[in-house]
């Protein structure tokens, strides 16, 4: 084996909970990890929906407002397309088109991200607002961090906001 070059670092802020933007985030993340980059994905606000353990609509949280928000937003199976969502039909149609063209679907990309060891972290503040606990999220969530920790850890990284 020849000597590997030093790893470049990429941090992706996953703010949007839109289906297409989440596909873009996981595509960049897995492509970067597979080409020798150290990747961290920081999920905040609507992006947290992609990390929920329950993939459908569940009234998570304690307050009425949080439970309503979490139910209406749902999990990774309910992410809307950012345009032309057509009441949730479009992500299903888009997934079919992706399969027809041998393009990795969102669940396949998420699975690849885990297999590649991409670091998944969740935003403490957004979790507090939406009353989502770490136990409500998939076990691959490595830690719950604040923005200062995220920025410190991303100091030598390219940061991408999606």
């Amino acid at each position: 084996m020849s000597t590997p070059v030093d790893k470049k670092k990429i941090s992706i802020v996953c703010f949007s909970g839109d289906f297409d933007k989440m596909v873009a985030a996981f595509t960049v993340a897995t492509g970067a990890a597979a080409t020798n980059r150290e990747v961290t994905m920081f999920f905040t606000f609507w992006g947290l929906n992609a990390l929920k353990k329950k993939k459908g609509r569940v009234a998570t949280g304690n307050s009425l407002m949080a439970r309503a928000f979490n139910f209406l937003m749902g999990g990774i199976n309910n992410l809307p397309l950012s345009r032309l969502n057509f009441f949730g039909a479009s992500p299903i149609l888009m997934t079919k088109m992706m399969k027809d063209h041998n393009v990795a679907t969102l669940p396949e990309l998420v699975e690849a991200a885990h297999a590649l060891g991409i670091r998944i972290v969740a935003c403490e503040m957004a979790m507090k607002i939406l009353e989502v606990e770490q136990s409500d999220m998939i076990e691959e969530v490595e830690s719950v961090v604040g923005v200062a920790t995220f920025l410190n850890e991303s100091e030598n990284s390219h940061i991408i906001f999606i």
Binding site: M1, S2, T3, P4, V5, T27, V28, T30, G31, A33, A34, T35, N36, H101, N102, V103, A104, E108, L109, A112, A115, L116
Partner: protein
């Protein structure tokens, strides 16, 4: 031991992902033969393998604009 992977039906980023995950499963010294398409996979798969410290032993064109890459872990 020689392994084989056909990524000609895959699209970005799964071309790189499948090669990376296959190499991760292999022991040092084992070889991986990868059948890939010209263009993006041919330009980037060998380069990223070398960046990760793997040795690209050969890169030969085959039929229909495909290439066969031999990588040693």
């Amino acid at each position: 031991m020689k392994h084989f992977l056909d990524i000609t039906r895959e699209t970005c980023p799964m071309t790189f992902v499948k090669v990376k995950l296959q190499l991760a499963k292999m022991d040092t010294g084992e070889q991986l033969e990868v059948l890939l398409n010209a263009g993006e996979p041919l330009e980037n798969v060998p380069r990223s393998c070398e960046e990760q410290g793997f040795k690209v032993l050969s890169n030969e064109p085959t039929d229909n604009d495909k290439h066969l890459l031999l990588i040693e872990k």
